[in-house]
């Protein structure tokens, strides 16, 4: 059973392979996700990680549909409000938590 690692509203799920489709982009950025309201960010402070984003039909103009991590060397992810977590080498899918909006009646991403 694949293991999960959670830091706040971000969940890292171990996967076996990555499919970026037609619109994919890789980078070595250290900020994985920035909070909209607080400005706090989930940051990679140690290790070697390649961040792979899969975009939709809009390409890089829109937000990525999925984000994957290729952890090549054990990495530490830190955040101002949560304790750091360690990711062992491997492939991970980064999932952001969602919540329900009772005014609009739809789901939306959690606003950190």
């Amino acid at each position: 059973m694949t293991k999960l690692v959670r830091q706040g509203d971000l969940l890292f799920q171990r996967i076996n392979e990555i499919d970026l489709g037609r619109n994919g982009k890789s980078s070595r950025r250290t900020i994985l996700m920035r909070g909209e309201s607080t400005g706090h960010a989930h940051r990679i402070t140690e290790g070697e990680v390649v961040v792979l984003d899969r975009f939709g039909w809009r390409g890089e103009e829109g937000p990525p549909l999925n984000t994957y991590l290729d952890v090549q060397q054990a990495a530490t992810v830190t955040h101002e409000e949560h304790a750091p977590v360690t990711l062992l080498p491997g492939l991970y899918e980064m999932i952001q938590a969602r919540e329900f909006d009772y005014v609009g009646g739809i789901e939306r991403r959690v606003r950190d």
């Binding site: 059973m1 694949t2 293991k3 999960l4 690692v5 959670r6 830091q7 706040g8 969940l11 799920q13 409000e81 949560h82 304790a83 750091p84 977590v85 360690t86 999932i95 938590a97 969602r98 919540e99 329900f100 909006d101 009772y102 005014v103 609009g104 789901e107 959690v110």
Partner: protein, 272 residues
């Protein structure tokens, strides 16, 4: 139609026994010694008297078909119509077909209304003006409520705070459920659920599921459940509350939905 026309039809060769078929649902019949009625199914919708009086009735069936048959077989020169925008549910009896000509006398159509031989009506025309004013005020009130509702929903969606800060009492006093939800959003769902001490319906480890039944005092029923997942961060001790869809009653299912995965609690290794 009038008394003489009705009587002549009843005495004509086209009658069947003592009745004359006017349409598939209406027939003319004798009533008492000096009255002839147009009977629609089992209701006398129009009754002509020998002295020239006419009684109009619906028998409780306030339908468009009844209205149409009264106009078809009713007294000449009188018309029954309705205008829900101006008069609401009330039907209007007018002397003259063109109700808006200005010369027509208008009366509220009440069941068993009597039109006298001299052309007067026993209904009170002043009552119609009162009804018109009541409908106008109710429409204005509804428009004001809808405008306020739209305003609150837009503020909630855009995250704009109103000039007066929202208080718990303002939320509790709100009668409309849509505006109440918008105010809760602006106040902060987590803060609101903590302050009103929402019911805890399930607890697993540091997670608990909270539920609040929001009532709609306009409809006088409880209208919506608000369900939220309360999480305590193991490392910092901070409490986070996030709304989940109202159908969830178990923490396990709510967590799986929130993180779009399966068996979250069994598989999670680290959680901060």
């Amino acid at each position: 139609m009038n008394w003489i026309t009705a009587l002549s039809k009843l005495q004509s060769k086209k009658r069947f026994k003592d009745r004359y078929q006017l349409s598939s649902s209406c027939q003319l019949q004798y009533r008492d010694f000096d009255a002839v009625a147009v009977q629609m199914y089992s209701t006398d919708i129009v009754t002509y008297y020998k002295d020239g009086r006419v009684r109009l009735s619906t028998g409780g069936h306030w339908t468009v078909t009844t209205k149409a048959r009264i106009n078809d077989f009713g007294p000449a020169g009188w018309h029954v119509w309705s205008d829900s925008r101006t008069y609401g549910d009330t039907w209007v009896l007018s002397e003259g077909y063109y109700a808006y000509s200005g010369n027509s006398k208008l009366y509220p159509f009440e069941d068993s209304v009597m039109i006298e031989a001299d052309g007067s009506c026993d209904a009170d025309p002043e009552r119609l003006l009162e009804i018109k004013e009541e409908v106008r005020l109710a429409r204005n009130e509804r428009a004001r409520e809808q405008s306020a509702m739209r305003r609150w929903v837009v503020w909630a969606r855009e995250g704009k705070q109103p000039r007066k800060p929202i208080t718990l009492d303002m939320i509790e006093e709100e009668a409309n459920i849509t505006v109440k939800m918008a105010k809760i959003r602006l106040y902060g769902l987590d803060r609101y659920l903590i302050e009103i001490k929402a019911e805890v319906i399930d607890t697993v480890a540091e997670y608990s599921l909270l539920r609040y039944r929001a009532t709609d005092r306009v409809a006088e029923v409880w209208a919506r459940n608000i369900v939220a997942l309360r999480m305590v961060c193991p490392s910092t001790g901070m409490v986070y509350i996030h709304a989940v869809p109202p159908q969830f009653t178990k923490v396990v299912l709510a967590l799986d939905w929130m993180f779009q995965t399966e068996s979250y609690l069994e598989r999670v290794q680290q959680s901060t």
